[in-house]
Symmetry: C2
Amino acid sequence: MFANNRITNLLKIKYPIIQGGMVWVSGWKLAAAVSNAGGLGVIGAGSMEPALLVEHIEKCKKATSQTFGVNIPLLYKFSNEFIDICIQQKVPVVITSAGNPKTYTEKLKQAGIIVIHVVSSTVFAQKAEAAGVDAIVAEGFEAGGHNGREETTTFVLIPSVVKTVKIPVIAAGGIATGSQMLAAFALGAEGVQIGTRFIATLESSAHENFKKIIIQGKEGDTMLMLKKIVPTRIYKNNLYNKIAEAEHNGATADQLKSLLEGENKAKSGMFDGKVEDGLIEVGQNISLIDEILPAKKVINQIIKEFEENLNRIKSEF
Amino acid sequence: MFANNRITNLLKIKYPIIQGGMVWVSGWKLAAAVSNAGGLGVIGAGSMEPALLVEHIEKCKKATSQTFGVNIPLLYKFSNEFIDICIQQKVPVVITSAGNPKTYTEKLKQAGIIVIHVVSSTVFAQKAEAAGVDAIVAEGFEAGGHNGREETTTFVLIPSVVKTVKIPVIAAGGIATGSQMLAAFALGAEGVQIGTRFIATLESSAHENFKKIIIQGKEGDTMLMLKKIVPTRIYKNNLYNKIAEAEHNGATADQLKSLLEGENKAKSGMFDGKVEDGLIEVGQNISLIDEILPAKKVINQIIKEFEENLNRIKSEF
């Protein structure tokens, strides 16, 4: 086994790599591919309706015999139904985010489900531990999509959370390569959650245009925006320009919301491929990703780079 | 020798730790203490007048026989005179920032001075390499004080710069502990520049009130502000509240500048100790620093933590 630690033991996985559950791009195909390759595949429920989630869970079960999970943003309108679906379907792992971990943790644990909660601060990590979750995903400012208000980066967040809680910590935000995974472990993490890198895979349900943005994107091409609504890291396209201009001029939350009205801008951008006028939620790491690969190859590459960098460090000191 | 790499060899120092040259807080006392403890001490010239810089260099030379440096922000009104002073005084290392590395690099190198340039992006790192500098400090979004417009964090910036340039890279931003130093090396850095941690030392010229803020500061207590002038990470005090309100309402650059008029707000906050109404430039790491120590003890502690974390990683894999 690559890493015999609390995360690989808890989740019964070979590599302590958790695939981030992301809206519109991470269905059963990606989750099953990641689980079959030795990581934890995760179905992103935040863009699904209940019947579709059931379908994805059933397909995922058929496609892999390994541990997989479902990510449920707790503020989503179907979160209550999703919790019941995961219990009925005996989903092995539920990753909750964007909400209070107290609400469902006990119910899920009583059903024998492993619960992991995503936080953006040390204070929230303490609350999640107190709520009884099994592990924490601590996600830094560089991550794509929804983000914390304090803007704490992975470099600063991880050592603080590790120092404060006793349960294992999974680092997220800014991790797409093996050297970044090693850095996360240096900071005390026992696992990594990787989002953006898995969008640019054959198995993700992202539109090809979105995948192309990830492999062509450069440093500085994303920015944390919409802080008056929910801070969200997005790609700089036409829609970004409109948001940036409005924010520059002091637009209110309502004025910003009006820019997002009409068709679902996230679906339109990430799933339907309208990459200039849709909302493209993606992390800073697009600058480091330059190839669309099968998920299995992504994992093997990250582990290979991790080991190369580990050997480099060992030889340097 | 702790690390026999291109940075320790270039600078003839024991530990690849560069003390950030910071305005108002890093004079000859701090620089000499860091150099005597095995790092590279750096006089921050950005808040000095020419005669004062000469005085600090002369005192530093008397206080240490080890390599030390001077940090010169190139946009500062005295930068031209400072370059000449460093040449006359045979300062071993000049670290330039906030400006074009082409302007003075050749002149400094011809005088036998080692030149290091601070950048916030990979594109700027390439320009600095092309200008002939000996090494790069790549500084992430989590750093205190002036900051890049692209908001790239240390986790994402360092691997990109390391992959792109051939000269050695020193990581900065978010580094105050040994685990963070190890993480920087995992990302490919060969040295670290540490700022905020050295403000909370006996030898820094920061006002005691400022030092107290660093040891009491919590996660989320700093924010990157003033993006319409120069993006600057500051502590959340009364002045911050005024800036935040103005920015929320879409204030122009001129309106923001008017909030900074009158007495020198950086001096007032950091040197004179008016920590509520002054500008407190400081990094996210204040959440991880809880003791005012001699600079030598800071370095020894970081190296000890580095080695502990290195041994932990070695035993885990």
